[in-house]
């Protein structure tokens, strides 16, 4: 089964990136959705497939559908953490290709910053009874444990981790939408307040408000939309565990499975990818995903990112919007990996635009390195 090139993104929207006082997550979601539909030359009335999971509604599609006045023929709200909106691409592609729906709206919004502490939280709604008595600080401590093992096995350094955050900030400095754009040095990352060894606060993603939306349709219809289509060339998902104590090798995620499967569907290899958007909840994430997705060998992610390896002008453009570390992270970041990839392939990115970008990867992560979803995009030339 392959849906290579059968569906395309025809509109994207962003709203409330950073702080959005006085607005609800549904308000922000609606603003992003309207923008995405306007770009496509479509309206709310055209949406017959709704894909929405968030951290403020248990029944996400119901709340979002009701607010927007959409009565979908098909909806999907799978909640596998921050990767969920990337996973929704797969279901949207299948439903579009099967003819069950004609227009898919994938959207996510959160007011995590403004309503601090009022999100649906695993620590209150879902006690993990074998880990929680030890006082983990979810999700940071799970990623910190993984990082300790990466350092132990591969000699990954404190400086290499810091360079991930520095690169993100350098990209963010060129993105007017990014929440944190001021200068940041390796030393400032390392000397920042320690949260959970070896992570300082600058190794950890932001806590912001924000919403994002993407509109997809079948490729034949996409050519009639206002903006040039960006085609979904391949996508794959996997999950191996919920709790970090159940992941056998803490230095390898199931991105090692989703990468090869997505590349196979796309008919591409890592060497063919021009832009990478890798879910950076913490500074270790891009290092692990570069390895697991096949952009470098296992254990070589640290040297790969060191000294500007993924910064502007480096060997590979990674997290060109500034990522979850410096642009936006409203609870779940997945949708933003999708939006930035699409914008890069349309040439919308101004100062941070990657020249001649024809292919891009959106990689979503969820839980505690638990769920991984890889999507590969291409412009018209790549079909």
């Amino acid at each position: 089964m392959s849906f290579r090139g059968k569906v395309a993104a025809v509109g994207v929207g962003l709203a409330g990136i950073g702080e959005a006082p006085g607005l609800s997550h549904l308000d922000l979601t609606a603003m992003a959705a309207k923008q995405a539909l306007d770009e496509a030359g479509l309206s709310f009335g055209d949406v017959d497939g709704l894909f929405a999971a968030n951290l403020q509604n248990i029944f996400g599609p119901l709340n979002v559908g009701e607010y927007l006045g959409i009565r979908p023929k098909l909806s999907e709200g799978t909640q596998i953490g921050g990767s969920s909106p990337v996973a929704h691409l797969i279901w949207a592609a299948l439903a579009l290709d099967a003819g069950l729906i004609d227009t898919a709206l994938i959207c996510y919004g959160s007011t995590q910053r403004s309503v601090a502490g009022k999100l649906l939280s695993p620590s209150t709604s879902e006690p993990l009874i074998y880990e929680m008595p030890y006082g983990p600080r979810y999700p940071i401590s799970s990623y910190a444990l993984s990082t300790s093992r990466h350092i132990y096995e591969y000699g990954t350094t404190r400086e290499q981790l810091a360079d991930v955050a520095v690169a993100a900030r350098q990209w963010a400095a060129m993105n007017p939408d990014a929440f944190m754009r001021g200068p940041l040095t390796r030393e400032e990352v390392i000397d920042a307040r320690m949260i959970c060894d070896p992570f300082t606060v600058r190794d950890c993603c932001l806590v912001t408000d924000g919403a994002g939306a993407v509109v997809l349709t079948r490729s034949d219809r996409a050519r009639d939309c206002s903006r040039e289509p960006v085609y979904l060339l391949g996508a794959a998902m996997a999950h191996w565990h919920r709790q970090i104590s159940q992941l056998p090798d803490l230095t390898q995620t199931c991105a090692s499975e989703t990468g090869p499967r997505a590349f196979e569907m796309a008919g591409l290899t890592p060497a063919d990818i021009d832009v990478l958007e890798l879910y950076d909840a913490f500074s270790i994430n891009p290092i692990m995903f570069l390895e697991d997705l096949g952009f470098c060998a296992k254990g070589e992610g640290g040297p790969f990112v060191e000294n500007g390896g993924i910064a502007p002008g480096g060997r590979l453009p990674v997290n060109t919007n500034g990522g979850g570390l410096s642009c936006v992270h409203p609870g779940m970041y997945g949708i933003f990996t999708v939006i930035e990839a699409i914008q890069q392939l349309r040439g919308d990115c101004g100062d941070r635009q990657v020249e001649d970008a024809k292919t891009a990867i959106s990689h979503g992560n969820g839980g505690h390195f638990s769920s991984q979803v890889t999507a590969i995009w291409g412009n018209e030339e790549t079909l």
Partner: protein
């Protein structure tokens, strides 16, 4: 009752702990140990799990320090311990300063009372 319910594995584990025994499950089909407790083996999906007491010997697999202000109790260790039987326990090493807990450190399990419940923690061995 035509379909009697099995004993709850979480309750069984807690009951052993309350007796002062750290017990995990062993799969009679694939001969691997299982933790946390379940009704089916997650390795081979067999249903012949029985309980065995662990030796208590383990090695620190991964470790971190959760930083906290002194007035809130100060920093503490959080780690994962690979037990001799091949299962991994979440836990905490007590004794050393939290940052002195190292990967590869040999540790021994101990049951302590915490917040009114028995809890497995680890000491350097």
């Amino acid at each position: 009752m035509p379909h009697p319910l099995p004993e709850g594995p979480d309750e069984r584990y807690a009951a052993y702990l309350a007796e002062g025994r750290i017990c995990i499950q062993h799969c009679g089909d694939c001969q691997r140990h299982v933790f946390y407790p379940r009704l089916f083996c997650p390795h081979c999906h067999g249903s012949s799990l029985t309980w065995r007491e662990v030796s208590g010997k383990g090695t620190v697999y991964a470790t971190t320090v959760i930083r906290q202000r002194p007035d809130k109790g100060g920093p503490y260790n959080l780690c994962l311990v690979d037990m001799e039987e091949g299962v991994r326990f979440p836990g905490r090493v007590e004794g050393p300063e939290p940052e002195d807990v190292k990967i590869g450190m040999a540790v021994a399990a101990r049951i302590k009372q915490e917040d009114g419940n028995p809890l497995v923690v680890f000491d350097p061995s």
